[in-house]
Every structure is written in structure tokens, then in C-alpha cells.
């Protein structure tokens, strides 16, 4: 669909609002027009040396018009903001919902600075176009038709001049759009890139300083800012051409309709009283266009943001919801998970992360996947959570293809403890409660106790009400991990994934976490992704991955005696210990 009609369609969300705005706007114009008539009449009275009382009457009418406009303008401004906020909320919601649906797969391709600035500042820039420009377009149209028709009855040549000017002022800028489009896009891209670069540099400031690179980075950024400046100037050079056309049409329209009227009067083809009316009316006729120009100017940044918004909304999802999800099987306490001939690559051009994988985790058992980094361990987790779907083969959850469940249901059956845990801004209580929104405080404390987290949480002055996350206090990796385990305990899902759960944890916490995890795996089907081989030795089944292929499987003892990859990995670990020992 064409970009503009799509943008226009966005306003469909606030049709009523737009209509109201148009009505208010037209009323304002009407008040102007009435005042123009009154003032023209007043001038005629003065010219004719008429009765002063009549003149005063005209003044009073003008005054009433002014008061009416004031009230209307107040209402308009208030209403506009409300409307703007509503539509921005709708757009932000749409983008976020889509991002949540697209999942982490989409994110790896996009830089987060970019997305975040789109959701807040980007959407903010859409306001001018949606809630000001579009209604104004209608106001211009209706008021021009109204005034044009009236003037047409007075004198056709004057009306002709006016109408040409209006048409050019409204459609002239549109004609140059394709040219301008390109530059706007470049502008927004440069803006977004610059934004993420500044964020990147500032987040890495310590690293830069340590490496004596902060000054250099500053120079680099200066170059980028320079580049942004150039793009902005270029964009302005063009966008101003557009508004200059409008200014030209307005100025010419006003000057020439008055000029032509004067000539018509001198030829006796127009009444003098009508000339006074045109003197004021011509100005009123172009006032809405003047505003239109202002709105157009402030809409520019929004166009580029809109493009980004559409590109997100249009991105095909990595996974699709089943049309008729099954969602049964909650009666089966301990799920069985199996991979059948599963192959997957993140990008078609890249080599497969997983090749023709077959494995089965029996209900209630603990399985472990081991292998070097890059062997495909984390990919398995992403596939199980359906952040991606495999290109070939299928993943069965209790014998049913995972694709046949709804995403919500599937994910409600899985609890994950990730390598690094993200904490949201809010209290520790809130963060644990995420896993079960209706959990009571007792349940949460119990979960924290089981996760060996209760002790450190209680040591904070504000306990469970301590604020954490980017804006709160920062917790150590081990503390975060234990909160993550508490979440998993609270979620109480039958299938548990421990994705390198103890790997970003300091020695202090590791023992506590291991103990917590041992409680957690009981009565669950568990998949452990691990590179600390000590943690997987007790697993019922061990799968060894190498380059995306299942290379070995079996129990610890069997694999050791096979003297294959697994036993080599174990040996390597011993060697590390020897090295450490000196």
C-alpha cells in the first residue's frame, strides 16, 4: 500500500476526533469570515460618512467573533492534545505488541537504541502530521470551497486567482514529494544511527577511558555529528522549497486577488463594498493554508518515523501462531520433549546452527546438553521457547508438534533460568512476581527461600521492596540469578530449562545456587545447558553437540568410557585445573 494512504489510514483510529477538530477549525474560520464582513461593512460606513451607531454595531460583531474564536481555540488546543495522546498510544501499543510478537529474533538484527528512540521520540514526531496536518487539510478544503464560491458570485476573475493559488499551495508540495522522500529517509536514518552511536559510546565509556580511546571516539562522533548536520541542512534546503512554494502561492494569491479586484472596480465590474470584503476575505482565505504550511513543516520528521513504524509492523514474524491451537495436555504433569530431524539456521546464508538433530527427553528426567561455545546449545533453548521455528523437522512437546500450541500456552509450560537475568525496574517483589502475577507475598517469600535468595534480600534495608533494575540498585550476577530461580520456582512449570544457569555467578553464590537448583529439578522434566561439566554428571542423559550435530549421547560413565568428545571435554577441564594449580 502507498505510504501516504497508509499514514492516512492510521487516522482511521481517531476518525471522530479528526471530524471534531475539523468542525472546530471550520467554526474558527467562520468567525474570521463573519468578522471580515463586519469590518468591511464598517469601512464602507466610514467611507460613506454613515451613522456612527452602525459602525459601532459592526465593531461589536467583530468583538463577539473574537470572543467566540478564543473559546474555540482553547477547546481546540485541549482537544488536539487529547487526540494526539490517544493516537500516539495506539501506535506505540501496535509497535510494542509487534516487537513482543517478533521476539528476540528480530532484535538481534536491530540495535536497541534505534528501536527505543522510535517508540518514544519517533512516535512523538508523528503527532504533527496526524492530529494537525490532516484535519487542517480538510479545513483548508472546506473553507476554500466556501470562500471561493462566495467570491465567485462577486467576480469570477478574482475567484479564479484565489482558486489557482489555493490549489497550487495545497498540491504543489505534494508534487515534489518523491524527491523530498529520499532525503527525509536519510535524515531519520542518520539521526537514529547517531543516537545509537552516542549511546554505544557512553555505555562503553569506562572501556574507552581505560584504553585511552575516549578522546578518539569523541572525534569519531564529532565526524558523525557533522555528517548528521549535513544531512539535516540538505533536508531543510528541500523541505523549505516546499514551504516556500506555499508562501509564494499565499502571498501572490492575496496580493493578486486584491489587485485584480481593484482593477475590476476601476472597470466598474465589481462593487466597492465587495472590494472591502475581498480585502479582508482574501486574507482569511489563506490563513488556514498558512497554518497548513506550519503543520507540514513540523510533519517532516514524522514521515521518517512513520516509515520505521510501518517497517516493524510489516516484518513477518519468526514464528506464527497456530490457527487452531490445541492447548491441552496440562493434565500431563511431566512432559516429554523430542526433536525429530530438526535443522535450523538463523540466516539462510549462514551455515546451519542445528543439523538434523534427533533427541528425546523422557518425562521427569534430567537431560543435559554439552558442547563447546557455538555448538548450538543456546539455539536449542531458543527453539524450545519458539523464539524461532526450525526450517526442517519438528519439535514435539508431549507428542504434539510445538507449533500446534499457542505461544502463550507453550511458554507457560516452560520455566527458564538464563545465563544472565534481566531485572525490570521495580521492587524485588515485583520482579519475582512476574512469573505469577497473582502470587501472594507468602508464596513469593517461600520461592525466594527455596532459591536461597531470601537471606540477601532480607538484608537490604527495604527488603523485598528494594528497587532494582537499571534505575534501582544493581545486584551481583549471583543475586540476580537467584531471583531468576525464585521466578522459576514460582512459575512452577512442568518443563524446566537451565541455560548455563550458574555460569555468570561468582564463587560466593555458586554453592547456594547449586543447592537451589537441585530442589528445583525434582519432579520436573529438566534440560540443562551447561559448559561446567561438573554440573551435568548427575544427569539421566547427556547429549553432546558438536557444530550443530548430535555427536554423542548417554550417561556420564558410558560417555567417559567411549573416549570421544565428551571425555576430551572432561579432560580439558582437568587440564584447566592443573594449569590453575601451577
Amino acid at each position: 500500500m502507498d505510504f501516504y494512504s497508509r499514514l492516512f489510514r492510521l487516522t482511521g483510529e481517531i476518525k471522530g476526533v479528526i471530524a471534531t477538530k475539523v468542525i472546530i477549525g471550520l467554526s474558527i474560520t467562520a468567525a474570521y469570515v463573519i468578522q471580515a464582513f463586519a469590518m468591511a461593512r464598517g469601512i464602507s460606513i466610514v467611507l460613506d460618512g454613515g451613522y456612527m451607531g452602525d459602525f459601532i454595531k459592526m465593531i461589536l460583531i467583530s468583538f463577539l467573533c473574537i470572543i467566540a474564536r478564543c473559546l474555540l481555540m482553547y477547546a481546540n488546543e485541549k482537544y488536539s492534545k487529547k487526540a494526539a495522546c490517544d493516537i500516539k498510544k495506539v501506535i506505540r501499543g501496535k509497535v510494542l505488541e509487534k516487537l513482543l510478537f517478533l521476539g528476540p529474533g528480530y532484535q538481534t538484527k536491530k540495535r536497541s537504541g534505534n528501536l527505543q528512540s522510535l517508540i518514544t521520540d519517533g512516535v512523538e514526531t508523528l503527532e504533527a502530521f496526524l492530529t494537525n496536518y490532516i484535519p487542517q487539510l480538510f479545513i483548508v478544503l472546506f473553507s476554500a470551497i466556501g470562500i471561493g464560491t462566495y467570491v465567485w458570485q462577486l467576480n469570477t476573475s478574482v475567484a479564479f486567482v484565489m482558486i489557482i493559488a489555493i490549489v497550487l499551495a495545497v498540491f504543489g508540495p505534494q508534487a515534489s514529494m518523491p524527491l523530498v522522500k529520499k532525503f527525509i529517509q536519510g535524515y531519520w536514518q542518520a539521526y537514529a544511527v547517531l543516537n545509537s552511536q552516542f549511546i554505544d559510546a557512553m555505555q562503553g565509556m569506562n572501556t574507552l577511558k581505560v584504553l585511552n580511546g575516549s578522546k578518539r571516539k569523541g572525534k569519531e562522533l564529532a565526524l558523525d555529528a557533522e555528517n548528521f548536520y549535513r544531512k539535516a541542512v540538505r533536508e531543510t534546503t528541500l523541505s523549505l522549497l516546499n514551504s516556500s512554494v506555499i508562501i509564494l502561492c499565499m502571498a501572490a494569491g492575496y496580493a493578486f486577488s486584491v489587485g485584480v479586484s481593484v482593477i475590476q472596480v476601476s472597470r466598474g465590474q465589481l462593487a466597492l463594498s465587495s472590494l472591502f470584503v475581498i480585502l479582508f476575505l482574501a486574507y482569511e482565505c489563506f490563513r488556514p493554508i498558512h497554518d497548513l504550511n506550519a503543520y507540514w513543516h513540523s510533519s517532516f520528521l514524522g514521515f521518517s518515523a512513520a516509515r520505521e513504524v510501518f517497517s516493524i509492523i510489516d516484518t513477518p514474524a519468526e514464528v506464527e501462531e497456530s490457527d487452531s491451537p490445541v492447548n491441552h495436555g496440562s493434565d500431563i504433569k511431566l512432559p516429554q520433549i523430542s526433536f525429530q530431524n530438526v535443522s535450523f539456521s538463523y540466516d539462510e546464508r549462514e551455515t546451519k546452527a542445528i543439523k538434523d538433530l534427533n533427541l528425546c527427553i523422557d518425562p521427569g528426567k534430567t537431560a543435559a546438553i554439552v558442547g563447546k561455545s557455538g555448538a548450538g546449545k543456546s539455539t536449542i533453548v531458543s527453539l524450545l521457547l519458539r523464539f524461532f521455528d526450525p526450517q526442517e523437522g519438528q519439535i514435539l512437546f508431549n507428542g504434539e508438534n510445538a507449533k500446534n500450541y499457542s505461544l502463550d500456552y507453550l511458554r507457560s509450560q516452560i520455566a527458564v533460568v538464563f545465563q544472565d537475568t534481566y531485572l525490570f525496574y521495580g521492587t524485588i517483589l515485583d520482579n519475582i512476581r512476574l512469573a505469577k502475577p497473582n502470587a501472594s507475598i507468602d508464596e513469593i517469600i517461600e520461592a525466594a527461600q527455596l532459591a536461597n535468595a531470601h537471606k540477601f534480600i532480607s538484608e537490604f534495608p527495604r527488603g523485598y521492596d528494594t528497587l532494582v533494575g537499571e534505575r534501582g540498585i544493581s545486584l551481583s550476577g549471583g543475586e540476580r540469578q537467584r531471583i531468576s530461580i525464585a521466578r522459576a520456582i514460582l512459575k512452577d512449570a512442568p518443563f524446566l530449562i537451565l541455560d548455563e544457569a550458574t555460569s555468570s555467578v561468582d564463587a560466593e553464590s555458586e554453592g547456594a545456587i547449586q543447592a537451589a537448583l537441585e530442589k528445583l529439578v525434582k519432579n520436573r522434566t529438566t534440560l540443562i545447558i551447561a559448559h561446567r561439566l561438573s554440573t551435568v554428571q548427575k544427569a539421566d542423559q547427556i547429549f553432546v553437540l558438536e557444530d550443530g550435530v548430535l555427536a554423542e549421547q548417554g550417561k556420564h560413565e558410558d560417555l567417559i568410557s567411549e573416549e570421544g568428545i565428551y571425555s576430551r571435554l572432561i579432560m580439558a577441564q582437568y587440564r584447566v585445573k592443573e594449569v590453575q594449580n601451577g
Partner: protein, 594 residues
């Protein structure tokens, strides 16, 4: 930061503007051109109206001589000139604005550089980014649409007033009176405007932070089925933003209405007054129409700044945030020129060092003294919060000591230039930050002039070459933001390669707490071994193996050094160390096992 703003509230406005004006100084030429074309733009626009009104007045009294073509020609010329001047005004104003914006961003970066990492104690990165980018964008309004316009408006208004005074002095007096009223309206509502403007920006940056959470915590949101809860939270902050914006909008509407009444009154008074003058025979009719048109439309430029002034609240709130960062005092001041002659020795001395992050806080380190001899590896050991990281932050001069001194080669680090200190030290920090550029560039950070071969060599020594060349694009592979595609172990190896390439005599390390897969761990241990060789090393140790491999240990507790010595000595004689090791590494079983 919010509290400081409120404290200064009373004088923020004037100070804010004076600061903004200071930045306009070096753009005099561009601004001059913008103002000149701006004045001409308005003069031509008003001339057009005046000519129109004048000929209407003449024809009304049948005094119009000359032909229609001439009239249209004059009008045509005026219209074209006006358009050209409009273009010129806008172009020059924007050029200056964008120029200043670019300069501001750079200035802000430099400010952040100066005050990092201290600034992070007060600001979250999402907010910092929003300050930098959006607030600077808002300032464009001031530079492109306010300052120049103010000058233009005053000049144009003066011209119009003179013209009216020439027609009749009373007309000019009435207009002057109304102009004063118009200008005072935004002033009356100023306090409200400032507050609301600040509130809108604050709410926007809250929504921003919320969005950042959604993006960075996406995996958790999905895995925990927290979608609804998150959206609720997000909508909640959007609603707060909306409310704040609506409040702002209401005031905007009120101000707009008041301004409108004032302008309407001006038009009517001029009409009445000049009608009276015509009746009295003081004013010719052709000038009557001119006076009416002038009275009505000469307020254009004044209205423009008044409606601009309605946004001063937002502009000021933004500029306050920007200046907050720009004017944050530098945490450390480096010597400009080198005063130290000859080569440094690379031993490190902490001499009775005390420091606290905030004035009123307890000391993070308290009277800490220890020494690292040349070529020696000393490990800092202790619970988290014991002050180990603070020692390293101080040695890196992220902050300066409160009392005492840190010396390298018997020179106080405060007497060194930045170049000297940085060329002596290199750090491998716990949280490895990879920039959004190629892996090669990331390694090269510490030595930009390094050849590809040197980079590769460093990577080989750091056991990173193999996995890097495994990527399709090798060293030209771009790292995602925060290095998403690389594993923790790989990132650490890149960080070690950086340090190897930078090749400084002193190595400072904050050992990563995370455990690594055996392959990574082995590689990293060996790489570190190589890195430490021949260097003076101060290391925050988490792993027992690292502690064991250090020459000496400095044991810290609650910001104080409690014990120093070798592992064996401390196990024999020490008290706290023994406890620490026993509790953390479940000794003695572990020791036997390895």
C-alpha cells in the same frame, strides 16, 4: 538531578537563556544573515498588505491613477521578494541551528567523558541518552525559531510603529500599549509553563526507560509470559505522559486564547480610532484602510514569538538538563603538561588512601595502604563490597582519592598527564564492553595505529584468533550491540587481546566472576598468564586458581586492608582470610581435589 533543578527554580529561566545565548556567539554571521532576511521578509509582506490597502483606499475615492498592469507588477515583485527572503531567513536559521546542534552533541559527549563513570551514579543510561538526543533536538526550536525571530520581531515592530506614528501618533500609542500586553501574557503564565514543560520531558524520559526495558528484557518478558503485565506497565507510563501533555496543552490553549483576544482588541481599537480620525478629517481615507490593515496584521512577528514563548517551558527544561550534564564538574583534572622526567618504574603504591563516592557516604575505602612491586602480581581478595573495585577505580583515576595518595613509580598519579597514566596502565574489566563495530576495530581500540598483523597477533596470543577467523567475515565481523552474538568467554578473550595490543607495563584486572566452559576457561587462563608475564599486575581475584597464582594477596574487609601476605602465610597466620576462603571455596575439600 531533579532536586537540583527545583532548588534553582527561581532563577533558572534567565540563567537558562543567558547560557543558550552564549552558545549563539560563534554563529554571528549565519544569524546576522537570518535576521536580515527575516526583517526583509516581514517588511515585504507588510508592504504587500499596505500597497493592497492603499490602492483599495485610493480607488474608493476614485483617486487611482496609473494602469492595472503596473499595480500588478509592483505587487508581483513584492511577492517574489518576500518569498525569497522567507527562504533565506528559514535556511540560514536552520543552518545555524543544526550547526549548533552538532556542536552540542559533541560538547555533551565530552562532558560525559569528563564525568564518567561518576555520572552513572546519578543517571540511568536511558535517561542520559534521552537528555542528549531529544533535549538537544528541542533546543533546535530555540535556535531556529526563537532567538532570531525575537530580533526580527523587535525590528519589524519598530518599523511598523514608526509608520503608524507618521500617520497618527495616537495609533502608534494604542498599538504599543497592546504589544506590551501581548508580551506580558506568556510571562504571566511562565511559572506554570516551566513546571509543565519539565514534567512533560520527565514523563517522556520515563516512558523511554520503560521502552528500553521492554527491548532489553524482551526474552524474559516472553519466557515469563509477562507480556500483559509489561504492556500494562508501558501503557501506564504512556498514560502518565499523556496526562502531562494534556495539562500542558490546556495551558497552551489558555495562553493562545488570551493572545488572540489581545490581538483582536488591537485590530478593533485601530479600526475605531482611525474611523474616528477620518470623521474628524485628520486622516485621509486611503490611509484609513492602510491603518486598519496594519493594525490587524502587523502583529504577525510579535505573535510568532509569543506563541514560541508558550514553548519556553519545554525549551528551558531541556536546556537545563543539557547544561546539567555540560556543566557537571570534572571528577578528575589531569595535568596539561608533563612534569615528570625520565622513565617510570612500574611499581604501585597505595599510601593511606581513603575515598567515598558521595560526600555524605561512608568511606568505600578507608586508609588503605599496600604496594605492588615491579613485575609482581598482587590479588585483591574479599567479599563483594569490601572495596576492591574502588581501589581499581581509583588507580584508573575514574575518581580521585579523598585523602592519601596513589603512586606509580613513586609519582603521584595526580601529577601525571592523562597520556602518561594511560600509557602506563591498561585494564581488563569485568564487564567487557564491545562497541558496535568490527571485531578488528574493537581490538584496535587501545592502539589505533596497529597493523592488521599486530591485531591478529594479539588475538592469537589471547586465544581469540581461532574463533574470530571462524566467522565468515573474520576480523571484519561486526559485533552486535553489547556483543550479543559473542559468548562471554569470547568477549573476554577479545578484551585480553586489546590489553595485549596496548602493551602497557601495568595491568589492572577485574577478574570476571562468571564461570566459563572448559575450553574458554583454559584458553583464558593461558592468555592471562601470557598477559601478566613481565607486567606489574593488580587483580581482583574471584577464582581460587587466580588467588593461588598471585605472588601476594591483599585481603580487604569493609573498605580496609585486614591482612597481606602469600596464600600459604595467610592460611597459617591469618584469621579473616582463612574464614573467607573456607566460606567461599568450601576449603579444605576443594584444595585437596585440585
Amino acid at each position: 538531578m531533579d532536586s537540583t533543578i527545583t532548588n534553582k527554580k527561581g532563577r533558572t529561566r534567565s540563567i537558562g537563556f543567558i547560557k543558550l545565548l552564549k552558545y549563539l556567539k560563534s554563529y554571528r554571521k549565519g544569524l546576522g544573515l537570518a535576521v536580515t532576511s527575516g526583517v526583509l521578509h516581514h517588511v515585504f509582506a507588510i508592504s504587500t498588505s499596505v500597497v493592497c490597502a492603499y490602492i483599495v483606499g485610493l480607488i474608493a475615492r476614485d483617486n487611482l491613477s496609473g494602469n492595472g498592469a503596473a499595480i500588478l507588477m509592483i505587487l508581483g515583485v513584492l511577492v517574489v521578494l518576500r518569498t525569497l527572503m522567507y527562504y533565506g531567513e528559514m535556511w540560514f536559521a536552520h543552518e545555524v541551528a543544526y550547526r549548533i546542534l552538532a556542536d552540542f552533541r559533541i560538547a555533551l559527549y565530552n562532558a560525559v567523558e569528563r564525568v564518567s563513570p561518576g555520572i552513572l551514579l546519578n543517571m540511568r543510561s536511558g535517561q542520559l541518552a534521552s537528555t542528549l538526543m531529544s533535549d538537544v533536538e528541542v533546543l533546535e526550536w530555540f535556535f531556529a525559531h526563537t532567538f532570531g525571530n525575537m530580533i526580527v520581531a523587535s525590528i519589524v515592530t519598530t518599523i511598523v510603529l514608526c509608520f503608524l506614528a507618521a500617520l497618527n501618533i495616537y495609533l502608534a500609542i494604542i498599538i504599543l500599549f497592546l504589544i506590551i500586553i501581548i508580551l506580558s501574557i506568556p510571562l504571566l503564565l511562565q511559572k506554570k509553563a516551566d513546571e509543565q514543560g519539565r514534567d512533560v520531558r520527565d514523563k517522556l524520559s520515563d516512558a523511554n526507560a520503560e521502552a528500553v526495558e521492554g527491548i532489553q528484557g524482551l526474552r524474559e518478558i516472553l519466557a515469563l509470559n509477562y507480556k500483559k503485565g509489561f504492556m500494562k506497565k508501558m501503557y501506564n507510563s504512556i498514560d502518565k505522559l499523556s496526562n502531562s501533555q494534556i495539562t500542558y496543552g490546556k495551558r497552551l490553549g489558555l495562553e493562545g486564547s488570551l493572545l488572540h483576544i489581545a490581538v483582536g482588541l488591537a485590530m478593533i481599537s485601530i479600526l475605531t480610532m482611525s474611523a474616528f480620525l477620518v470623521y474628524e478629517g485628520v486622516l485621509a481615507f486611503e490611509w484609513f484602510t492602510v491603518a486598519v490593515i496594519l493594525g490587524g496584521y502587523s502583529f504577525g512577528p510579535i505573535m510568532e514569538i509569543s506563541s514560541m514563548a508558550r514553548n519556553f517551558g519545554i525549551i528551558l527544561a531541556s536546556s537545563n538538563r543539557v547544561f546539567e550534564v555540560l556543566e557537571s564538574k570534572s571528577l578528575v583534572e589531569y595535568k596539561e603538561t608533563s612534569t615528570i622526567k625520565g622513565k617510570f618504574k612500574s611499581d604501585i603504591l597505595f599510601d593511606n588512601v581513603s575515598f567515598s563516592y558521595k560526600e555524605d557516604n561512608n568511606n568505600a575505602v578507608d586508609a588503605v595502604s599496600f604496594q605492588v612491586y615491579e613485575g609482581e602480581t598482587v590479588a585483591l581478595v574479599g567479599h563483594s563490597g569490601a572495596g576492591k573495585s574502588t581501589c581499581i577505580n581509583l588507580l584508573l583515576r575514574f575518581w580521585d582519592v579523598k585523602t592519601g595518595a596513589i603512586k606509580i613509580g613513586s609519582h603521584d598519579i595526580r601529577d601525571m598527564t592523562q597520556e602518561e597514566l594511560r600509557s602506563m596502565t591498561c585494564a581488563v574489566l569485568q564487564d567487557v564492553y564491545l562497541f558496535h563495530t568490527t571485531i578488528g576495530e574493537n581490538i584496535r581500540l587501545g592502539k589505533p595505529e596497529a597493523t592488521d598483523e599486530e591485531v591478529e597477533n594479539a588475538a592469537k596470543l589471547a586465544f581469540a584468533h581461532e574463533f574470530i577467523s571462524g566467522f565468515p567475515k573474520g576480523y571484519d565481523t561486526k559485533t552486535g550491540e553489547r556483543g550479543v552474538q559473542l559468548s562471554g568467554g569470547q568477549k573476554q578473550r577479545i578484551s585480553i587481546a586489546r590489553a595485549l595490543l596496548k602493551d602497557t607495563p601495568i595491568l589492572i584486572m577485574d577478574e570476571a566472576v562468571s564461570n566459563l566452559d572448559s575450553e574458554n576457561e583454559q584458553a583464558i587462563q593461558q592468555a592471562l598468564e601470557r598477559l601478566r608475564r613481565g607486567r606489574t599486575t593488580l587483580i581482583i581475584a574471584h577464582r581460587l586458581s587466580t588467588i593461588l597464582s598471585a605472588d601476594r594477596l591483599v585481603v580487604m574487609k569493609n573498605g580496609k586492608v585486614v591482612e597481606t601476605g602469600t596464600h600459604e602465610d595467610l592460611l597459617k597466620e591469618g584469621k579473616y582470610y582463612k574464614e573467607l576462603i573456607a566460606s567461599q571455596y568450601s576449603l579444605p575439600t576443594d584444595v585437596k581435589e585440585i
